[in-house]
């Protein structure tokens, strides 16, 4: 290609990426400017000049109004949430695939096609959410103004916690008596089986889970009555969290919870999510405690 042809091809590539209304005008100007820059230069010199000018996409972006989908300040949280979310989906998918499939190849196939390929909805959803959040911040800057977080105290909101206790007690009663309640509404055997516990589960694992749930409610009520956290209730919470996490993990792997396989799969999925939540909560608390202890040591020294 000759030098003018190279310039024409480059300008055409830039123009293609510009808004339609600006294309002709910018092309004409850019072509003349590049010709001026090159003078009587050869094709090799033209290529060097054009490469130095930048990739057509970059040049087109410089001509236009910069468009940002995810704000720079949001890039790191976006990446972190994307990676963590995809890893969680892949891990849960792998557990599901191991339970459903037989043979390593079959498990991998199910996992790849059903979970890995379909997991990218999550980063896509995050792009939309972060994009909307960024647009709202630019449109209404006051909405993005920094606000101090309420200071952490040991006091609790009694009204909210009383409502939560009512909800927890009702939820536990419904969970324990689900099949009895269903029998009152319908006589369909499938519906009854869907909420009937496995006999083996009811011997040891069920009562243990129920005992822990009752203890958790009692602990919750204790803090509510006292109106604030104390070192004892904090420690008790930690012990209960650890016990609950361990027992739930055991329940997931020890055998069926419900007689109906779909209900069993669903409840185990919920249990895995709950254990993950407990572990994250414990990690945050440990980090907070370590940070406050390090701060206290720094103040003393």
């Amino acid at each position: 290609m000759t030098a003018p042809e190279l310039i024409d091809a480059y300008v055409a590539d830039v123009a293609r990426l510009l808004p339609r209304k600006d294309r002709a005008d910018v092309s004409m100007e850019l072509r003349e400017l590049l010709r001026d820059e090159l003078g009587d230069g050869s094709a090799d010199e033209a290529l060097e000049l054009l490469r130095g000018f930048g990739r057509p996409a970059e040049v087109a972006a410089r001509y236009g109004k910069p468009l940002t989908v995810i704000d720079q300040g949001d890039t790191r949280p976006f990446l972190r949430l994307s990676v963590v979310g995809v890893i969680v989906i892949w891990s849960l998918g792998l557990i599901e695939a191991i339970e459903a499939g037989s043979g390593a190849m079959m498990v991998l196939q199910v996992w790849y096609f059903k979970y890995v390929l379909q997991s990218f909805w999550w980063p896509g959803l995050l792009v939309v959410c972060f994009g909307i959040a960024g647009w709202v911040r630019r449109r209404w800057p006051s909405s993005a103004a920094w606000k101090p977080k309420p200071s952490r105290t040991d006091h609790v909101n009694r009204a909210g916690r009383i409502a939560a206790i009512v909800f927890f007690v009702a939820g536990t009663l419904v969970l324990v008596n689900a099949s009895w309640l269903i029998k009152k509404v319908t006589s369909a055997p499938d519906a009854i089986a869907a909420f009937s516990f496995d006999e083996e589960f009811l011997r040891l694992r069920g009562p243990l889970v129920l005992a822990l749930m009752v203890l958790a409610i009692v602990h919750f009520a204790m803090v509510t009555v006292q109106g604030r956290w104390s070192p004892f209730t904090r420690k008790l919470e930690l012990v209960l969290d650890l016990a609950m996490g361990a027992v739930m993990t055991w329940v997931v792997f020890a055998g069926p919870v419900y007689q109906s396989p779909p209900s069993d799969r669903l409840v185990k999925f919920v249990l895995v999510l709950t254990v993950a939540g407990i572990l994250i909560d414990l990690a945050i608390k440990a980090r907070r405690k370590y940070a406050s202890r390090a701060k206290a040591i720094n103040l003393v020294s």
Partner: protein
């Protein structure tokens, strides 16, 4: 011998990183003055290539890939006005400060002078 080679490589890697950092910081420093430099030269009509040559001859070379799109952006912001002219040969787009651009140029010049004074004081203080 091995230690020498490792030390030399570490030295080369360190100086490469240092050069990249210093180039980036210098670029950022220059980027801040590009707009004012351009505005200062557009009190009368000029076209892109002519403006770049003028800035370069006065000691402020600006990459063509930065300058030409900048002129269009300033025009779309109402700071510059432009018109096509064909004096000798091909038509060229000429730019000049608009009324808003003249005011902006005065404002930025005052800011630049204030900033320059502060920087001089700071840098002299460091030397003293």
């Amino acid at each position: 011998m091995v230690l020498n080679s490792v030390t030399r490589r570490a030295y080369v890697a360190h100086s490469t990183v240092w050069r990249m950092v210093s180039e980036k910081l210098e670029l950022e420093l220059r980027r801040g003055v590009v707009v004012l430099a351009v505005l200062s030269q557009l009190r009368s009509y000029r076209y892109g290539y002519e403006l770049r040559q003028s800035l370069s001859s006065k000691g402020l070379p600006i990459e063509e890939g930065t300058l030409y799109p900048l002129l269009r952006r300033l025009e779309s912001q109402g700071v510059l006005t432009s018109e096509w002219r064909a004096n000798e040969g091909s038509p060229r787009r000429y730019y000049q400060l608009s009324d808003t651009g003249v005011k902006l140029c005065e404002q930025l010049t005052a800011s630049w002078r204030g900033l320059n004074e502060v920087m001089d004081r700071l840098l002299e203080g460091d030397e003293g």
